[in-house]
């Protein structure tokens, strides 16, 4: 039995044939069939690689913000804004009170559930992030907007997914630590959106900017069992399990202090680099985490974030090495 559970964080780059087909095909039925195929291929690829928690690489989704903004009334797209370098995301402004239009994740989840052998983990963009990434031209305050999103939209989506059989959800809240002075608001919004759920609640927070120093003290107040965080992006490529070799993982000490009863999703792959981490490097990142946190059963292994910015062959090579690294770490511990 494996000591460490493994998972992907969400997105994979869309296959080129899918993009081409979606551009040229005029039949909605055919497009749906192509999306089904892409979803199935991603799911089976991730299972084949050996991950324990899987999804469909978000094959049907446009982007983590754009998709919800498209299906929540009150959002109006205004254009693209830089994320970094020449990566952009479509940004919307809020021009009316937000209201529910459709559950934009239900269909994809039902498909994944039907074909998954491993446990599906559904990524859902959280209310705080949706608020923070939008221009607010309607609500009097950020809190009013975020609370409406949490209560009227996200909570309803999650409950419907749960009714459809969802056992694990990953609430993506990359904006969580963007405003350190607003952590209390983040906690309030996060807990509101998961109110009444029985599914296991994971959250993924990445590129915090403050190495999670504002997140750690509020973890005890958050109704999430699992925190998938990004570390490899800041780490060295040197082997070793001491502090000097693992500068990217400094936040683990604070995690031990504040969140010893929670699970960590340990980011061991830098998703913004084509460098394929060798298994030995993955091993040492995991062993360092064990050294700091103890109990391996609370350590899940994953990439820093979704791998959608990498070519598919790079993404799969990284994930394969991640699994090999996990096995090396297990062998070292046993």
């Amino acid at each position: 039995m494996s000591l460490f559970k493994t998972q992907e964080i969400g997105s994979l780059k869309k296959p080129s044939w899918l993009l081409e087909y979606l551009k040229t095909s005029t039949s909605e039925e055919d497009k749906k069939a192509a999306l089904d195929d892409a979803s199935f291929i991603n799911l089976k690829m991730l299972e084949h690689i050996g991950l324990d928690f899987v999804y469909d690489g978000e094959a049907r989704r446009i982007e983590m913000y754009e998709l919800p903004a498209k299906f929540i009334r009150g959002f109006e797209f205004v254009g693209r804004v830089r994320s970094w370098d020449n990566k952009y995301y479509k940004k919307a402004r809020i021009v009316d009170r937000v209201s529910f239009e459709k559950n934009y994740h239900l269909e994809e989840f039902i498909f994944v559930k039907e074909y998954a052998i491993k446990t599906p983990k559904v990524p859902v963009t959280g209310a705080y992030t949706l608020m923070d990434w939008s221009y607010n031209e309607y609500y009097n305050s950020r809190e009013d907007l975020a609370m409406d999103l949490a209560k009227q939209i996200i909570n309803r989506i999650l409950k419907e997914l749960e009714n459809a059989g969802m056992k694990v959800v990953q609430i993506d809240e990359p904006a969580a630590t963007t405003h350190p002075a607003e952590m209390e608001l983040f906690v309030k919004i996060f807990n509101e959106q998961v109110k009444g759920l029985n599914a296991k609640i994971n959250t993924h927070i990445c590129y915090s900017g403050d190495e999670y120093s504002s997140l750690m003290p509020v973890i005890p107040d958050l109704k999430a069992k699992h925190f998938a965080l990004e570390f490899a992006n800041r780490d060295s490529m040197n082997l070793g399990v001491d502090d000097a070799a693992r500068p990217g993982y400094r936040a683990l000490k604070a995690f031990r202090e504040y969140a010893s009863d929670r699970e960590i999703g340990l980011g061991v792959l830098d998703v913004h680099s084509d460098y394929v981490e060798p298994p030995e490097l993955v091993r040492d990142r995991i062993l360092y985490a064990v050294k700091i946190l103890g109990d391996p059963s609370k350590i899940y292994v994953n990439p820093d974030c979704g791998l959608r910015t990498r070519k598919r062959e790079i993404a799969f090579a990284k994930l394969k090495n991640m699994i090999k690294g996990v096995r090396l770490a297990e062998a070292a511990i046993r």
């Binding site: 830089r82 590129y207 800041r234």
Partner: protein, 302 residues
């Protein structure tokens, strides 16, 4: 009001068409340059007397400078303050020195104003693996920026904006002397005016410190600071750049309100109407509307 002027500072957003080009083409530098020239013409058409380099070629506020310097590399992504935009962290591995001829590729012909990170902000947002001492680090970066400042003087730039958001959230008190020394060196190396902009955070100590720093003017984010906060700056000998057009929200400002605020200041020195933060946080069509608004307000007041 003795003199009212207008400019925008920082990185200007790329058009939707240009974004598409950067996704499809491998080599798109010339497309970036062409769009820069269009934005320069746009400013002229709106009667701007100070023409800003839109810095369309800049991936983030550090990159061209880091690429133009020996001893500096860029590493992982980091969040740019409380935004959803990220930058690649400069890592100082050896004493920085200028690589000749690189920066020029990132400059737009015909521009007169450009924005660089101020030395303190540069030190806060980058990683020092060489100096091992923050004061020396600030001074070293100051010398580097001064060399770049001297270069752009020769290219015809007459305004240098130093972007100083880190004064708002990063402890500067222990480094005041180093910061002033670094700013002095930059000021001495640049033939035109140097204006330092503070934004994102309302830090009155930082504002007062910068008011006494060896630069020509202070730029203030009027969405972080209050009008009362800047009363002390009025007529204290420094020029004032009023960051009163919001680069962080698509909502258009109320023109009358802005005119009233400007008039209420009773400012006698040169006053500039400008953006509070880079326009790159908006889609380009909204940034252009805001440029129009700057021009319109200046016209109304004049």
């Amino acid at each position: 009001m003795k003199e009212l002027n207008t400019y925008f500072f920082g990185i200007f957003p790329r058009s939707e068409k240009l974004i598409d080009i950067t996704r499809k083409k491998q080599n798109y530098h010339e497309d970036l340059i062409q769009e820069s020239l269009k934005i320069i013409e746009y400013q002229k058409s709106k009667s701007f007397k100070i023409i800003s380099d839109p810095q369309i070629t800049w991936e983030d506020m550090f990159r061209p400078l880091a690429l133009s310097a020996e001893g500096i590399t860029v590493n992982g992504l980091n969040r740019y303050f409380e935004t959803n935009t990220f930058y690649k962290v400069p890592v100082i591995r050896a004493k920085p020195s200028v690589k000749e001829g690189i920066l020029k590729k990132y400059l737009a012909t015909g521009a007169e104003l450009i924005s660089f990170p101020d030395p303190f902000t540069f030190s806060c947002l980058s990683k020092d693996e060489f100096y091992g001492d923050k004061e020396k680090f600030i001074e070293g970066i100051g010398n580097l920026i001064a060399t770049f400042a001297s270069q752009i003087s020769k290219e015809g730039y007459r305004y240098l904006i130093l972007k100083g958001p880190s004064y708002g959230n990063c402890e500067f008190r222990n480094y005041e002397k180093s910061i002033k020394d670094a700013l002095s060196v930059i000021k001495a190396s640049f033939k035109g005016k140097v204006i330092i902009h503070i934004y994102f955070y309302r830090n009155l100590n930082a504002l007062n410190f910068l008011a006494s720093s060896p630069v020509d003017g202070i730029g203030v984010d009027m969405y972080s600071f209050k009008t009362d906060d800047i009363k002390n700056l009025v007529n204290n000998g420094k020029e004032l750049a009023l960051g009163i057009i919001n680069g962080f929200n698509t909502k258009m400002e109320n023109e009358d309100h802005i005119i009233n605020v400007i008039r209420s200041l009773n400012f006698n020195g040169p006053l500039y109407i400008t953006n509070n933060v880079d326009f790159e946080f908006l889609p380009q069509k909204f940034a252009l509307k805001k440029v129009d608004l700057i021009s319109k307000i200046a016209g109304e007041i004049s």
